[in-house]
């Protein structure tokens, strides 16, 4: 009887409501008044078709972004036996598998570089990219419990999904350094340009993640189709083979894939080859246009997230 009997203890109290309005609110109101702003802090109105990005709001919530990233990373390797070691094992194993099957058995050319060294950086990048895009794509739906209960700039969610994967990318590139040292690969001045294709790649993942996560709210097909499309995209990009394998007459068409410019130049920066400026420019234009479009499109549809998610 614990429930009902302890409730009855409350009953007399509840039965005599205290009207606290004039007595309490009066003096406190006066004390509080100067602290409340005179201009509305927020105005809620039906929004127009296209909205500003409201970067100030995003900046204001940067700590939430930090916590969501921190949560993703923390939770991902909880209850795993080797924990964060998975970050190392994943790219190393897939590099080994491709080295055995494509490098040794199928003898895919690798631009006069040992195949394992050739494939590792693009594979490490790809591991990041595919995880960021697929997880980013389902991030909004996966955060339905937050979206229906609390306000914050929704763009934080797909952004956090991408940033949380940067840890893996960073660690994978540390291993890259070990690999380069092992194969006595000299670093050239062009390595200084490594951040250019890398940052483009991260932005591309961010744009894709914002776009697909918003689409996925209304069309759940997206999260089903995404892994398949990402897989296809991998073979349409020079991840496990060099772009020199693509016949010259298809080259222009091939370069329209923004990942071509990113991956080719990633390798060029690492192995001291010459840069592919045209494909890099195409990637840069495509990526920046995508990020800007995706952010605005996201803002356009985010208002209905809480109603349909």
């Amino acid at each position: 009887m614990s429930t009902t009997s302890s409730n009855s203890a409350d009953a007399p109290e509840l039965a005599t409501p205290v009207n606290r309005s004039p007595a309490h609110a009066g003096p406190l109101q006066r004390k509080l008044a100067p602290t409340l702003p005179n201009e509305p802090v927020a105005i809620i109105e039906p929004s127009r078709a296209w909205n500003a990005l409201n970067l100030r709001d995003l900046w204001h919530y940067r700590e939430l972004l930090y916590f969501l990233v921190w949560r993703d990373i923390k939770v991902r390797y909880k209850q795993t036996a080797v924990g964060v070691a998975w970050v190392v094992i994943q790219p190393v194993f897939s590099a080994l598998i491709f080295t055995i099957f494509l490098g040794k058995l199928a003898r895919v050319p690798s631009d006069q570089i040992p195949y394992v060294l050739f494939v590792y950086p693009s594979l490490a990048f790809w591991t990041f990219f595919s995880a960021a895009v697929t997880q980013g794509g389902s991030s909004i739906v996966g955060s339905a419990h937050l979206i229906t209960k609390v306000y914050f700039p929704r763009l934080i969610i797909p952004t956090a999904a991408v940033i949380a994967r940067l840890l893996d990318l960073g660690i994978a590139f540390m291993i890259m350094l070990v690999l380069l040292a092992y194969y006595r690969m000299p670093l050239s001045p062009s390595t200084l340009l490594l951040p250019v294709p890398l940052i483009l790649g991260i932005l591309l993942a961010l744009g894709m993640s914002m776009l697909t996560s918003a689409l996925n709210v209304k069309y759940r097909d997206v999260s089903v189709a995404l892994p398949v499309l990402v897989q296809l995209w991998m073979f349409a990009s020079p991840v496990v083979y060099p772009s020199s394998l693509v016949p010259e007459k298809y080259r222009t068409l091939y370069e329209l894939n923004p990942l071509v410019g990113i991956l080719e130049n990633l390798r060029a920066a690492l192995f001291g080859g010459s840069f592919y400026w045209r494909s890099l420019a195409i990637s840069a234009i495509f990526t920046l246009a995508l990020v800007i479009y995706a952010a605005f499109a996201f803002r356009r549809v985010e208002r209905s997230f809480a109603d349909i998610v």
Partner: protein, 411 residues
């Protein structure tokens, strides 16, 4: 001086069809656009979707430091209004001005992750509710002390009992420090002791000069906390004023009758009610209740997992939600079932107990002193028929009628 919140002609429309199916598939969309190629151009109204107005033309102001209660029946639009104020969903029309930082508590423990420890969840949940990291660090000890679970703060919350979980979650929420606070029935959690602690904390916050909008079904806590009450009915504001007057009006509006409760959502615990209903002595469903009816509460329940000390109880409540009495099988010298299986428990109220008022009946399945597995509630008005003598004008006084033994004799 301007108010803390100014709500001007706010309305919100939902498309029922769109809401129920909740999402469309790309194939449907492509099919639609083939069949209705000009749909996009016309912009308004999708085929086969009925539109409902969850809120229509709501306007009112909330003064600084005012504590406003929002009441109304299910579906009246209370939660929709709160979600608009919290910027979770957008109004279809109208405008709201908020003069202050808004914090919303539509649920406690939003974003809690079972794999993270209590400490980690305090930070995560705090950040989600809009607190700064520095602010959480500064209040951390206070939060933990309030939650009374110091010992388990570094244990993953998946190992917490539901009581501990709620305590920690509420503790974080209680230390939220916005200028305008929106609260949605989060107090309806935990055991009675913790509930009253939460209510106490809410009172403290209210007295601290904070502007609060508080949604609740519990008239008792509304009356205890709020100076002003707004009453919503079918999406419209139908009364706004002093708490006592508006709650009175709400109670008179006539309540939705439910003589039978049936589980509609999948059970979350392994002990749960399937159906709880009012019946006559022969266990036949009652369609209405009169002062002359003999009333039994029938509980169909399922025990799927073994729990020692499982308890069953039924309480009778008045229209305000205050308890009149509670009873358990122990009254009849029976113990509550504990072995797995399906059970039907029937409790027969004494004859001619009910007065022509509105009552509710709540049934509980719980472990004594700790965890509530399931609750079910019924609510019903009682119609007056020939019954006990009524000597007071305006109806027999009191919450229930009890026929007592009298002796009157010349002496």
């Amino acid at each position: 001086m301007h108010p803390a919140i100014r709500i001007e002609r706010v309305s919100k429309q939902y498309r029922i069809g769109a809401r129920q199916t909740s999402y469309t598939t790309l194939r449907d969309k492509i099919g639609d656009s083939l069949r209705f190629p000009f749909e996009k151009l016309r912009r308004n109204g999708r085929h086969g979707h009925e539109e409902i107005w969850a809120l229509e033309d709501i306007s009112f102001e909330v003064g600084r430091g005012e504590v406003v209660g929002l009441i109304g029946h299910n579906g009246a639009g209370k939660s929709t209004l709160l979600k608009i104020l919290a910027r979770i969903t957008e109004p279809t029309g109208g405008r709201v001005e908020l003069y202050g930082k808004v914090g919303s508590l539509l649920e406690v423990g939003t974003g809690f992750h079972p794999e993270l420890t209590g400490r980690e969840n305090v930070f995560l949940n705090g950040a989600i509710l809009g607190m700064r990291k520095a602010e959480i660090e500064q209040k951390f000890d206070e939060v933990v002390a309030f939650s009374e679970i110091e010992k388990f703060i570094d244990t993953p919350v998946k190992h917490y009992s539901s009581g501990m979980y709620m305590r920690l979650a509420f503790a974080v929420a209680a230390h939220l420090d916005p200028e305008i606070l929106l609260v949605d029935e989060v107090l309806a959690v935990g055991d009675a002791g913790f509930q009253s602690k939460c209510l106490g904390k809410m009172e403290e916050v209210a007295q601290g000069g904070r502007t609060i909008i508080f949604v609740s079904h519990n008239i008792g806590s509304i009356q205890r906390l709020c100076s002003t009450v707004a009453l919503l009915n079918s999406g419209r504001l139908c009364a706004l004023g002093k708490a006592s007057e508006v709650t009175e009006r709400y109670l008179q509006m006539g309540v939705a009758t439910s003589l039978c409760w049936e589980r509609s959502d999948p059970p979350t615990e392994d002990v749960y009610f399937r159906r709880v209903y009012l019946a006559d002595e022969a266990s036949k469903d009652l369609e209405y209740v009169t002062t002359g009816s003999s009333v039994a509460v029938v509980l169909d329940l399922v025990i799927a997992g073994g729990h020692r000390n499982l308890q069953l109880s039924v309480g009778l409540y008045d229209g305000n939600g205050d308890i009149i009495f509670g009873t358990s099988p122990l009254d009849a010298g029976l113990s509550s079932p504990t072995a797995p299986g399906r059970y039907r428990a029937t409790v027969l109220f004494p004859p001619e107990l009910l007065l022509p008022k509105t009552y509710s009946v709540k049934a509980f399945l719980f472990l004594a002193g700790s965890k509530i597995f399931d609750t079910a509630s019924l609510r019903f008005p009682v119609q007056e028929t020939a019954s006990l003598y009524n000597i007071t004008p305006g109806g027999r006084a009191g919450q229930v009628a009890i026929r007592c033994d009298w002796r009157v004799e010349a002496s």
